[in-house]
């Protein structure tokens, strides 16, 4: 029988007779609660939270609560002597400790504690006013609260606590408190558990990222990971103890995850910049600490474009095209050195600490190592094997040998899961690194982990109670009601392992068909299918506390949303292999669970399932008929019309695949379900005024390069001839952004240093540097009036602009939808029913409307309103501006299909004088794909269908000649692209033959 705190005790805490009695009662309460979860529950139900929180907030006599307003925090911890320890402090300390142990009880305690305002009260204890003991206890309590709250995805206090700088300053001074290593650790750990939503991460990044970077840089110098020759500058803090480093790494990872801007802010933060600017000038710092590699360059197996249709690799596609812009190589000048340093760091650590370093490495990699072949090889030989080794896990014997290794099985499994995560991010979109991972034995280590996660688990048995508690009284205040329990720890861990293993497998399978095959042969397809099953209603009820706790948990009980998403990702990657799609995947019966997931309650899961559908709906996929029979069209069209952008795009993408080479009735059904009006709207663009939209002007370069984040660069290197750059203006503007916290002096500094870095990086060491320098001399530069050297602040500002500007985001999304909508039309027209379908479209949309839609895509964008530039002088564009390459390409594809329809339709197209005029410049489009397809369209136009068509064909040629297209075609006879030249030959022959 469990006794909760007696009413007398609570009364004596609420109304103490004396300070000593107060302390004694609090201690009695504390000792009664520690280690007794059931008593904690009873205590909450009896309103302990509401009794304790006021004790924290009550002002003490000794030191009134004054908030620091003098900004001394930025300079480090205050050195004033802490106030003497008084009985009042002792009371607050005991109350804080009790709140901490209540919070340590897990997720059910979060709800009542938050309702009582415990989180805010704790966050309000501002560091410098209080004695260190109380601050440490507060941080501990916050840590417990944050940990428990993170389990149910909540913030342990009102977001205002973050915005009011209370918590950031508390954390910052704790981080910089060298006197107490425990505070540093606690603060870093709190940050890890706070960082969940993007807004929180942004706030944390703004306040704390630089501090964290400073600590890490100090440690790098202390451990001689870099050669640092300058006297320690004032802004470097004393190095934290090495045991704290993993926490700091984890905090940085927590903050930077999910945003390229935040990651780049870390790499370009002043401590890191300082570290490498000096070191870099002397030698390649991290390289000297890394072993020299004598490995032949990997021969990568080329990725066969398994899918003839537009391709189903959205991310990869975007990335690749955006990297054509070469600026990725440029900004890497020292971002690349950071990678080297992180490899050294990872090699110097072990166990879970090593994971932390690898995760940070993984996150900073994609932006930095692309095109750095040597660095990539270094990663392949030095970092990837470390991750794979950690996935293997440790045996209990090994664990007793080394202190840094995990001590328990649970911990060991956590390390394995984390290692899978790190590997997945590391090898993402790099064939070389994927190969390295497979060679290191990743597949044969991950598959058993996945299989193991399906072993039946028995959750820990509940504690004994003499009298099961009755239902809660409904009229209790929120602070006395326990929250939901969430998943039992064992199941939570299993789910995590499963999701991590699936993610790692997906990354391994994303490119090479051979790897996909090995994964399938390892027998994990059935596991993937099982992972697509959501929790059964019984399990959900148990999790939400509506029914009895689970006695057992097995395969058939389903999966949480993260697992399902990871399984969808794995299924998507594996289904890219046509042979596997038609063998293993159809045998496993993947269509049914995927279709069911389209109806899932969570939009993230719907999106993941739709992504898989894209591959399952291709015309050679045997699952297409099953999905059609199940009614996939209705679901997808519904989702396409939804307002959520990701899902809309993916659904449209899937529909696009669905109508390719499908029977007439399917095509028409898709069109009808989607709604002609909606389709027209989608092609037109969301704002309907895409032409006059300023964003399309300013960031035309972005969309041209595929909407990737990393397109423009600080040096203003311009990639696309069609889009004279205006990015620089934006950069200038954003420099003033306060979030960057850059003073004028620093600004100048960077300019100089940027130059140094750039030159250094352009040395012979990296192939990519040479690439970069040739690009630098490319004719594109003629359009760039800006200074060539690298500038971190500007670079960061442009990254930030792309990530945080909602107008830009909306614009990019909009363009992506337009592109998919045009491609949908293109696939609709494709095939034998071309003429019929076009006729249908003409009837549905209307001839004028249809051609004006296409015309708008090809026409130059009219001069923008200066809205985005906020007063900055607008450079007079030397050339007209056009829509993004992808849009133009899709449009010309549609034209080609119209030209392929019946002779009447060809005539119809020829009658569109405006359209032809606007099409003309694109025959010289810098993208070869546009040129090729344009010439193809002319080939179709000049084709003589039958004898009756001959005269009309002659008319068409005449028309082409008069609008200048014939000349344009002949001008392409010496095109650098073979494909273009061959098509031109055909076109010229056909024109001359008439």
């Amino acid at each position: 029988m469990v006794q909760g705190p007696s009413p007398e005790l609570l009364e004596s805490i609420r109304h103490p007779t004396s300070l000593d009695a107060h302390i004694a009662s609090l201690k009695q309460l504390k000792n009664g609660l520690i280690g007794h979860d059931q008593r904690k529950e009873l205590a909450i139900k009896r309103g302990v939270a509401d009794i304790l929180v006021p004790i924290l907030t009550a002002p003490t006599k000794a030191a009134g609560k004054k908030r620091s307003t003098n900004g001394s925090l930025s300079g480090g911890p205050l050195q004033t002597a802490p106030p003497a320890w008084t009985a009042e402090y002792e009371v607050r300390l005991q109350a804080t400790v009790i709140l901490g142990i209540l919070a340590n009880g897990g997720s059910p305690f979060v709800q009542p504690l938050l309702a009582a305002g415990a989180g805010n009260a704790l966050a309000q204890i501002v560091a410098e006013d209080e004695p260190p003991r109380l601050v440490t206890a507060t941080l501990k309590a916050l840590q417990h609260l944050a940990r428990s709250a993170a389990l149910i995805n909540r913030l342990p206090f009102e977001p205002t606590a973050l915005e009011e700088d209370l918590l950031p300053s508390l954390l910052k001074s704790a981080l910089l408190n060298t006197a107490c290593k425990e505070q540093q650790k606690l603060a870093a750990d709190i940050i890890v558990h706070l960082a969940d939503q993007d807004e929180v991460k942004d706030t944390l990044a703004k306040h704390l990222l630089e501090t964290l970077a400073r600590l890490l840089a100090a440690s790098a110098i202390a451990n001689r990971h870099v050669d640092y020759h300058r006297p320690l500058s004032s802004h470097l803090s004393p190095a934290p103890p090495n045991t704290t480093i993993p926490y700091i790494l984890a905090a940085i990872i927590g903050i930077t995850t999910g945003s390229i801007f935040r990651m780049q802010s870390f790499i370009h933060s002043s401590p890191i910049r300082d570290l490498f600017q000096t070191a870099w000038a002397e030698s390649n710092p991290a390289n000297s600490s890394l072993p020299q590699l004598h490995v032949p360059v990997y021969k990568t197996v080329s990725f066969s474009p398994a899918f003839p249709v537009l391709g189903s690799l959205p991310q990869e596609h975007e990335r690749d095209s955006s990297y054509d812009g070469a600026q990725a190589g440029r900004d890497a000048s020292y971002a690349n050195a950071v990678i080297g340093w992180l490899i050294v760091l990872a090699r110097s650590l072990s166990g879970r600490n090593r994971i932390a370093a690898l995760l940070l490495l993984a996150q900073s990699r994609p932006e930095s190592t692309h095109r750095h072949r040597e660095r990539e090889r270094q990663l392949a030989t030095l970092a990837i094997p470390l991750a794979v080794q950690l996935i293997q896990g440790t045996t209990p014997e090994e664990r007793t040998m080394a202190a840094s290794l995990p001590t328990s099985d649970t911990e060991s499994r956590e390390v394995q899961g984390d290692a899978c995560d790190a590997l997945a991010i590391l090898i993402e979109d790099s064939k070389i690194l994927q190969n390295a991972a497979v060679e290191a034995g990743a597949i044969k280590r991950i598959c058993p982990i996945l299989k193991q996660s399906f072993d039946t688990i028995t959750p820990a048995r509940p504690m004994w109670v003499a009298h099961p508690p009755g239902p809660d009284e409904a009229d209790l205040p929120e602070s006395c009601k326990l929250g939901i329990r969430g998943l039992p720890a064992e199941i939570y861990h299993t789910m995590r392992m499963r999701a991590s293993a699936l993610q790692a497998l997906a990354a391994l399978a994303s490119r090479e068909d051979i790897h996909k095959k090995v994964i399938v042969e390892a027998g994990v397809v059935s596991c993937i299918i099982d992972s697509l099953k959501p929790f059964t209603p019984e399990v959900t009820a148990a999790i939400e506390g509506r029914s009895k706790p689970l006695q057992q948990f097995s395969t058939k009980d389903g999966n949480g949303p993260t697992v399902i998403q990871a399984a969808c990702l794995a299924a998507k990657c594996i289904s890219r292999s046509v042979s596997l799609l038609r063998t293993s995947l159809i045998d496993a019966g993947i269509a049914k669970p995927i279709f069911e997931l389209l109806q899932h309650t969570k939009p993230e899961v719907q999106l993941a399932a739709t992504d898989v559908c894209c591959n399952l709906l291709l015309d050679f996929s045997p699952m297409r008929d099953d999905l059609l029979a199940a009614g996939v069209i209705k679901t997808l069209t519904e989702h396409a019309r939804q307002s959520e952008m990701g899902l809309r795009l993916a659904s449209l993408w899937a529909l696009k695949h669905l109508v390719q080479n499908s029977p007439k009735d399917v095509k028409i059904q898709c069109l009808d379900e989607l709604g002609v009006g909606w389709l027209v709207g989608a092609i037109q663009g969301e704002q309907g005024s895409a032409v006059a939209d300023p964003a399309s002007f300013s960031m035309g370069g972005v969309s041209v390069a595929g909407g990737g984040f990393s397109t423009p660069n600080a040096a203003g290197e311009q990639v696309d001839l069609l889009n004279p750059n205006t990015n620089m203006d934006i950069d200038e503007q954003a420099d003033e952004d306060e979030a960057l916290d850059e003073g004028d002096e620093e600004e100048e500094d960077e300019d100089e240093d940027g130059e140094v870095m750039y030159d250094e990086a352009a040395g012979i060491h990296y192939q990519a540097s040479q690439l970069r320098s040739t690009l630098h001399r490319s004719p594109d530069d003629a359009f760039v009036p800006s200074v060539p050297e690298f500038n971190s602040a500007r670079y960061l500002a442009s990254v930030r602009e792309k990530e945080y500007n909602p107008v830009l985001q909306a614009k990019q999304d909009d363009i992506a939808v337009q592109e998919q909508a045009l491609d949908f039309v293109r696939n609709l027209l494709h095939g034998e029913d071309c003429a019929f379908m076009f006729e249908h479209l003409l009837r549905a949309i209307g001839q004028d409307k249809l051609f004006s839609l296409l015309n708008d895509k090809l026409a130059p964008i009219t001069a923008p309103s200066p809205l985005l530039f906020r007063g900055a002088p607008l450079p007079q564009p030397t050339k007209p501006l056009y829509q993004s390459t992808e849009l133009i390409l899709s449009t010309v594809h549609v034209l080609t299909h119209i030209a392929n329809a019946s002779p009447t339709h060809k005539q119809l197209l020829m009658a569109q004088k405006h359209l032809l005029a606007h099409w003309l410049p694109h025959f010289n489009h810098p993208d070869k794909r546009v040129r090729v397809i344009s010439v193809w369209a002319v080939n179709s136009l000049t084709w003589v269908e039958d004898e009756g068509d001959r005269t009309t064909a002659q008319l068409r040629v005449k028309e082409l000649r008069s609008c200048g297209i014939e000349n344009a075609i002949r001008g392409l006879a010496n095109d650098p692209e073979l494909d273009v030249r061959e098509r031109v030959k055909t076109a010229v022959r056909q024109m001359d033959g008439l």
């Binding site: 469990v2 201690k27 520690i34 280690g35 007794h36 501990k140 045991t243 820990a460 504690m463 004994w464």
Partner: protein, 255 residues
């Protein structure tokens, strides 16, 4: 005793070397004085000798790794457990660090079990006749077990067995008690729990849970076994010297 005099400087770590003259190699090894001092200090701190540590720190100009206060804290806890005042010890541990017992349910259970044993011990001691102790005398023990120990018992079979065995102390007459139950009444159990608590507090503070010298002695024994297996040229018997002066011998250079 071999020819070399046993002194703090003596080291046997050269046993791994297959050199001809073992004693000579021993002589050649000169561990630095500060290493030895550090080792002694480490021992004093982790084993809980606050006064000695303070004195030693003054003499050697070493700053102790932990403040004297924290050592005293641990000593107080240990003394309380040794004296059978488990409740007091639990309160002291909670004052020192509330997380230790909240997170380490095994240690918490062990302490509560010890507390139950002490209660039963007290009851047994109050009835020296030990023939027929009235049942109601055991009531405090039963009440304590129900409140403190029983909730956790079903969660793990080990807890359950431990509780059952402890409760059995109330059934048997002390002299007829089987060995496995009698062990529970042995005061050495207090020492074991006290050591575990000491370790837990040390590791919660991020310090080594055990004095370095203990590791060194194990390493020294392991090295000798390895060397003998490898048929290295060693004297027939190498004394560790623990019997001469308990704390003053160690293989300092092997750090």
């Amino acid at each position: 005793m071999s020819s070399s005099t046993v002194s703090p400087q003596t080291t046997y770590s050269t046993t791994m070397r297959a050199s001809g003259n073992f004693d000579k190699s021993v002589e050649e090894m000169k561990p630095s004085k500060s290493d030895i001092n550090w080792l002694i200090m480490d021992y004093l701190v982790s084993e809980g000798y606050p006064g000695a540590a303070e004195k030693f720190a003054q003499e050697t100009n070493l700053c102790p790794a932990a403040t004297v206060e924290t050592i005293r804290e641990r000593v107080k806890i240990r003394t309380a457990i040794h004296a059978g005042k488990v409740e007091e010890a639990i309160e002291l541990i909670n004052d020192a660090d509330a997380e230790i017992l909240d997170n380490d349910s095994l240690l918490h259970f062990q302490l509560l079990q010890l507390q139950l044993i002490e209660i039963i011990r007290g009851i047994l001691a109050n009835n020296p006749s030990s023939q027929n102790i009235p049942a109601q005398d055991f009531l405090p023990a039963i009440q304590f077990a129900t409140e403190q120990l029983s909730p956790r018992a079903p969660t793990d079979v080990n807890y359950q067995r431990a509780l059952e065995n402890t409760m059995a102390l109330m059934i048997f007459q002390p002299e007829k008690m089987p060995q496995e139950f009698r062990e529970l009444l042995d005061v050495r159990l207090r020492e074991k729990v006290a050591t575990d608590v000491n370790k837990a507090i040390l590791s919660a503070r991020g310090e080594r849970a055990e004095a370095k010298i203990k590791q060194l002695i194990r390493a020294r024994a392991w090295a000798e076994v390895q060397a003998r297996e490898a048929k290295a040229d060693l004297p027939a018997h190498i004394p560790i010297g623990l019997d001469v002066a308990d704390e003053m011998n160690g293989d300092a250079v092997m750090t």
